[in-house]
Subunit: 198 residues, 2 copies
């Protein structure tokens, strides 16, 4: 690729390492960045370096934050006796967008996956058990409904039940607004099993 | 979006300004960057800043380069009396990948588009006319075969013909490997008009 100058080639290479960015996208992004105002390039570049340097795990719930304790754990409005277990900070953000959940979270940073060699010791499970020694009334398991997520949910529920803490799992069913005919069989069966009286 | 810490939110915002990066992709990229090794983040960040600072137009052909004269114009192996006119550095790179073109280039940085208010004075046309005062035998117009590209090609050919320089246009026709039945009518007609004896 020496038909680009070395610095353009270098930028294309570095951009091409990002997930979902192929060679064509990397070229497009590189030329866009070169044509951006210098201030905006500096902003983007600084945002990356600063986020990488300062973002760490919240000491309580292990979500990614740039403070010692994340804004959710630090908020007096949240109920610390209700903990929702999620796989990642993005899942946490998805629930926060609903604006209705008033408890706190626990971010596992992964899910148990024998296929990928991820065991219970590779996710933040020990840390969850430590938190449960405090005053916790309900543990809501909101891992994904994938094989790994379900395995993790089962594992946690078996681990936690003896401690006497109430363990719940978010409902699985037909998404709001979707057609029955487009929904897969497993989801349809789950929705039937989980039916509620109206 | 205050459910992310401010630095993550800032990074997501900055990434979301890039073309083709929506909110979901920006989130995915941001968390990927936070999880990358620090060295790789620095490499990416520096590549952006360095490219933005040092990349400029080649003094001869106006392609993007980090030198005064780009490697193609500086090469003694290239024939400077044959100039291919392209719209962008990416188009130049596309022809360079063929490895068979031995002339030099002229990058217009755009195409004439009355719709977008881009006139002949907004692209590097004046600079092309200056180059044609030198020893040029052939000008190959390789603008895109879009409406803007064709308009630009027509405009340049009318402008250059009186100077006596031979003006050619790259062939338009059915792409190699594609089916006739999937090719649009305009391309089929072009291919027919441009037929060559075999």
């Amino acid at each position: 690729m020496d038909y680009y100058s070395s610095q353009i080639t270098k930028l294309i290479e570095e951009l091409g390492r990002l997930p979902g960015v192929g060679n064509k996208s990397a070229q497009r992004l590189a030329f866009h960045i070169i044509n951006m105002p210098e201030e905006q390039v500096m902003n983007l570049s600084n945002a990356m370096v600063e986020a990488k340097k300062n973002v760490r795990y919240c000491a309580k719930c292990f979500t990614l934050t740039d403070k010692e304790i994340c804004p959710i754990c630090a908020s007096p409005k949240r109920n610390p006796s209700m903990i929702m277990v999620v796989e990642s900070t993005r899942d946490l953000a998805a629930y926060e967008k609903t604006g209705k959940y008033e408890g706190v979270y626990h971010v596992l940073h992964g899910a148990i996956s024998p296929m990928l060699g991820i065991g219970p010791e590779n996710i933040k499970l020990k840390e969850l058990m430590v938190r449960l020694q405090g005053n916790v009334e309900e543990l809501i398991i909101a891992t994904n409904s994938s094989l790994e997520g379900e395995t993790t949910a089962m594992y946690i529920s078996k681990l936690v039940k003896p401690t006497g803490v109430k363990v719940t799992r978010i409902a699985s069913g037909v998404p709001v607004g979707s057609d029955l005919e487009c929904t897969d069989e497993v989801t349809l069966l789950r929705a039937l099993e989980g039916r509620v009286e109206i």
